[in-house]
Amino acid sequence: MSPTPSVARIMTQVLVALSPGIAAHFWLFGPGILFSLVLCASFGLLFEALILKARHYPLRPFLGDGTTLVTAALLALALPTLLPWWLYAVGMLFATVVGKHLYGGLGQNTFNPAMLGFAVLIVSFPAQINVWPAPAALASYSLSLRDAYDMIFAGARLHIDAYSAATPLDSLRVHLRSGQEATSLIGAQLIPDLQARDLVALSYLLGGLYLLARRIITWHIPVAFLGGIALTSGVLYLLDPAYQAGPFFHLIVGGTLLGAFFIATDPVSAANTPVGKLLYAGLAGLITVMIRSFGSFPDGVAFAILLMNSAAPLIDAYTQPKVFGHRRRHLPGDKP
């Protein structure tokens, strides 16, 4: 007999599924992720408690449901580590208070809270958010907990230049703008740490497969999202192989796999019908590649998912499954 399903159980399993990704992140970028996780979780719970109190909601069931922790983990993984502490606070403030509770709280939010927090940060503080610790540099100098602490809380910026670097998507953009060809960049390993990032991608994939096995998510959204990315980037690559990075690159880098399995699948903000999920996630994949290739932001996962979040109710309305005993599916405007 399986235990009674509960929101807390689902969220616990999502956190378990995130743990390989967190471990890989730790291995690649150093101990900063521990700080950002703890900071995001603490600020998240604090803001959640305050807003619950303000809205006269009981604290225990809502703090205990684990949703805030999942939001915190997703934001921490989406953001670079070693940011000043108050940036995490701002991110979680927007995620929980604006993204979730101003829309009505658990289950009512139109947008994925973590992505909303992330979008606010990347739009408001692009200089900080685009600086990631450099995995290669960390390989030669192991960043201690003490270093991380100084950078996050004491504003130490001493080492930051030495230990930070552009992300693959960033450097691709920079190099392409300077006239180099994508194929040569990837082939010559001018883009840093692509192999190391495979591991992070694989660990998200592992967690995603766990979620699929536990039936927390269905296959529709990850498959359609990854398919949308592969298809769009594949077509772009065929059209312009010199200046496009190709599907494999797009599937590995940035937030692709985290988005496919953990963010786009957020049931509250995603489409919910089987056909709707395919449409929603496929289009999110398309928009992701479009933003990466033609937009001004390095990664497009967050904006693509937020955009499709706003389209999800419309998609649902037009993709209702055929009810048993009915000849066809119900469309808006049909008689009840």
Binding site: S6, P61, G105, P267, N272, T273, F324, G325
Partner: protein
Amino acid sequence: MTALFKFPGGVHPPDHKAESNTTPIRDLPLLPRYVVPLSQHLGKPAEPCVSVGERVLGGQMIGAPKPGVSAAIHAPTSGRVSAIEARPIAHPSGLNAPCIVIDSDGEDACITTPPPAHEDRETQLTRLRNMGLAGLGGAVFPTHIKLAPGSDEHWPLLILNGAECEPWITCDDRLMREHADAILDGAHLIQNLIGAAQILVGVEDNKPEAIAALRSAANTASQSNISICPVPTLYPMGGGKQLTYALTGRTTPSGGRTTDVGVQVFNVGTAYALQHAIRHGEPLTRRIVTVTGAVKNPGNYAVRIGTPISALIAAAGGRTPNAYGTLIGGPMMGFDLASDEAPVSKMVNCILVKDNQNFPPPAPALPCIRCGACARACPVSLQPFEMHWYARAHDFGKAQSFKLFDCIECGCCDHVCPSHIPLVSFFRYAKSEIWAREQEKDAADRARVRHEFRSFRLEREKMEKAAKHAAAAKPKTEVATAPAAVPDADPEAARKKAILAAAMARAAEARKEITPKNTEGLPEDKVREISEIESRRASLLQSVHDSIVKEEEEESSPAQKESP
């Protein structure tokens, strides 16, 4: 062996069959008093045909069926009618309902009506109606009606429903194990009555003993047109439309019945009772009831209709110390019993005593996170979370557009909901609100028709008066032309009449559009509620029409007097 089809959704709740299916069906000792409710079936309650103080014999009809959808009730034993009054019955409302109370004399003398050697179909159907046969799977629809196909109907397939998918309940299981021969004989009797070519017996594969018993009975009967079909254990396999789909792949249209796809479905218990009624002339005065859960000796009992549930629980060894409540039916679709003094009626297939271990108090409901688990579990492919969303917001029209009335209230969504939302309760609430609003709308429609007619009548009177004055003002010599003025006024009146007719047609059309569909498979009380509303509506509409016609006649007659 037929191929099987998988209906959408479904859940696997822990089945808890082993608690009660290991012991044979036991008899209950004769009790000093029985309480027989007048309404134990869908449709109209029976009409008492005995009076207080009268002596009755076991099997004697004490409540006669009313015309239409109704069935008879019978005395469970011999004794004296001590009261005909409202008593607690096993019903979700917990309200009292009229019952006939019989104090038994301890002799248990029974009427024996040996069945005639040969009788035609019509007499047989009437006899079944007078024997009080009703579906024993839970819906208690009067059986004789389901045995009479309409002149344009053809039911080539008979399905016996032995799925018994609801957890804890094992009364059909034990019955199939112990009386497979009688069940199959009953199936053949039904087959002859409805003219079916083939019989399929659907049994969930968690009942291998029952399947084996039925198979051996089918072999000895050496009938070629009957197949025993094990079906996967998947709740709600026992739903008539679900079982039909699983066995035949035929989808019953929304709002229709399985007979629309040529299939008639009977519960195995009903087939057994029908066999007894036809072969032995025994009316339906007892049924098998599972008593399980937090009782000392769970098991199945052959219980006389009218036995107080408290006596049945006592016969099963009484409640265990930590028991706290009683369900009628199973955990998925059953309801809480308000009073243990309520009697066993034809619809009571299981008495499930709750305790904290198996029925912990429900966790507080959290907001819906739209995880879609309910939609994946729904056997009708509904989107319960959307319906819940709109039902909660009192947007019932929108809830209905998500096919609220296709919901069979099986409880799969409740079972899987991680937020512990009582979804089915929301849907029942939304349905009853829609019915109530429909009534209001109907009343408003009637008022509008009356108002439109009144305006038309006043207008007509005014015109007639004007015409009269005009006629009077003209010289007497032109009196010959006066009758010609009347045909002149007629086209105008005809136009008004057409306007009125159009308005009434519009109102009728609007009513038709909002009439909820698919009321089959609803719980008994809801169907009764609907039929009451429908009958009230019909009579009210009729009275409006009558009054309008009468007014017309009254008005036209003085006019005729004046015209010459």
